[in-house]
Symmetry: C2
């Protein structure tokens, strides 16, 4: 008889929360036995916002995301808008700002209200139009009562681009630009879920930003060299990943990071760092110094980029680290395990 | 005060079961406000196994499926193999038998065993190799305990093809070919779920059949004019859909439909019609009469097509109907609302 109790490792919520725990899980499990990336395929190993496969003289970009947000309706959006915007934005982060097609898999809990489904579908159709995208194929599954909490939507997108923008191409001297305020999405969902008084002031930023990104790429004329959307894990996770993959340090100037008054108040009240909270209509850009002015001007002239700001710089010290300059001093911004609350996207 | 109780319509299990109820839901809800198909896009309206978009002189085929099978491990396969094979086969059903790339979204319940996830991932990697496919991008989400039953995997596939095969192109006189025995997958899952004695003999047919389909297309030299995989709702649903979309009747000769002894016994015991049970490694082909011999020979010379058989014919009577010839007489095979058991795929 074996009297040792075998330790069975279990998946925990942090494995899905966009931080270090999730990345480790993916590296340890999902990268096993899959073909390695090569010069014709930016694939799983790259762990970028999507994959890119060379097709003739272009790249086909492919990206997928499951959306499990709870509640499915929140101030500023709903799971349908999120499902379309999330995938459109991941394509854009790879440099593919014109969406060829979207595929959409919906899973419903038995007993889900038909009216709510109609509302979600309408939101998906509207957001698709807004993004110049089209849902061309789908799948519907229903799980029993109690087997699924409400509704889950997976959205996959495909798009062509002539040149791919990676999240690993920062060089010392590149300027870090954020396209607007941060923390809005995650805090709006948290407030809604917990019925906080602040809910009325907080509003998710969920939006397709492919046109905004296109404007920046055009204005930058090759000067936008790295992109990532700060979703799960927030700006902190996005910068950590960009810094680590690029082999540079990133100095983030905290006082320059745009925040709405509502987010600032909610974050203080809840004791949550907005740098670690998910955004769904923002991008982090790495921009060559000489292109920054043009890129900022292009962003700010777009309705979704009014609050765009240069918030930091890539440096050659402490590669892989994010150095937070608080205005009073500098400290290392530690990488979080994950988002403070699960199911925010 | 309004004392009328408003009737709130709810989603039921049959809305995900692959039959008439599901098709109606998709038509009534998901087709609203989406762009109509045109000569450059076979999209949502077509409700085919996938979408096809013209890119230059080729077609890009895109298809997505969420997999919610319960239990995730069953005789003959598991949810990982199913997730890859299901999507590879949907691409093949559109005529795209060489997979460019797969995207994979995994959703886990908190507490899911890490070892089981490793097993599922290994199965996905192996099945991908078998299909000549590669998973290039993915997404991982975790839902709380009780918010999801175990594991769900969405898989999306992209592939190019020079010519698309539709499910709506049957003409009277075309022969209906099935690539092997039917009912194996659904009955194996049912037996496993309910702990039936028969479980040992039943075995899912889940397999990627793109190479088998390619052999048939090549041998048919243009003579394979329609394809559909008989998954949810089984052979009955697939034939109903092909007949309705093509505007023909289909006569199905029941005695010619290949069945294993185990499926026959289990179906009789459970009072289930194997024609209505899901398959995950089979295709229904509509073949011009002059090409049937060559197509059957090609199928039967492939390990996954040994039991291929001509089982019916398209006729110009009763368009949209399936006429079952039992060997003792003919009757209309009514379209089912859905699969007898949910979550078989």
């Amino acid at each position: 008889m074996n009297d040792r109790v075998r330790h069975v490792e279990k998946i925990t919520l942090k494995h899905g929360a966009g931080g270090r725990a999730m990345r480790t899980l993916i590296e340890e499990i999902f990268l096993n036995g899959v073909p390695t990336d090569d010069h014709d395929c930016i694939g799983l190993q790259a762990m970028d916002d999507g994959a890119a496969i060379r097709v003739g003289d272009r790249w086909l970009v492919l990206t997928t995301d499951s959306h499990v947000v709870q509640p499915p309706f929140f101030p500023g959006g709903d799971i349908g808008r999120l499902a379309v915007a999330g995938t459109v934005n991941d394509l854009a982060m790879m440099g593919a700002t014109e969406v060829l097609a979207l595929a959409c898999g919906v899973i419903l809990e038995e007993g889900f209200n038909r009216d709510d489904l109609v509302r979600v579908q309408k939101s998906m159709a509207e957001t698709s139009r807004e993004a110049g995208a089209r849902i061309v194929t789908g799948d519907t599954k229903v799980m029993g009562r109690g087997e699924l909490d409400g509704i889950v939507i997976n959205t996959t997108g495909v798009a062509f681009t002539d040149s791919v923008v990676r999240d690993c191409s920062l060089r010392p001297g590149d300027v870090i630009v954020i396209t607007g305020t941060i923390g809005d999405h995650g805090l709006a969902v948290m407030a809604e879920r917990h019925g906080l008084q602040l809910a009325g002031e907080l509003c998710s930023d969920v939006a397709p930003i492919n046109a905004l990104v296109r404007a920046a790429l055009v204005a930058g004329a090759g000067g936008v060299v790295a992109m990532k959307d700060p979703t799960r894990g927030g700006l902190a996770s996005a910068l950590h990943e960009m810094a680590a993959k690029s082999g540079v340090g990133v100095v983030l100037e905290e006082l320059k990071v745009p925040l709405t008054a509502a987010v600032r108040a909610a974050a203080e009240l809840l004791g949550i760092d907005p740098l670690q909270v998910a955004n769904e209509g923002k991008a982090v850009l790495g921009v060559r110094a000489e292109a920054v002015e043009a890129v900022l001007a292009a962003l700010r002239s777009h309705p979704l980029g009014r609050a765009a700001a240069a918030v930091g710089v890539a440096v050659d010290e402490r590669p892989g680290s994010v150095i937070l300059d608080t205005g009073f001093g500098k400290r290392l911004l530690s990488e979080v395990e994950g988002e403070p609350l699960p199911r925010i996207c």
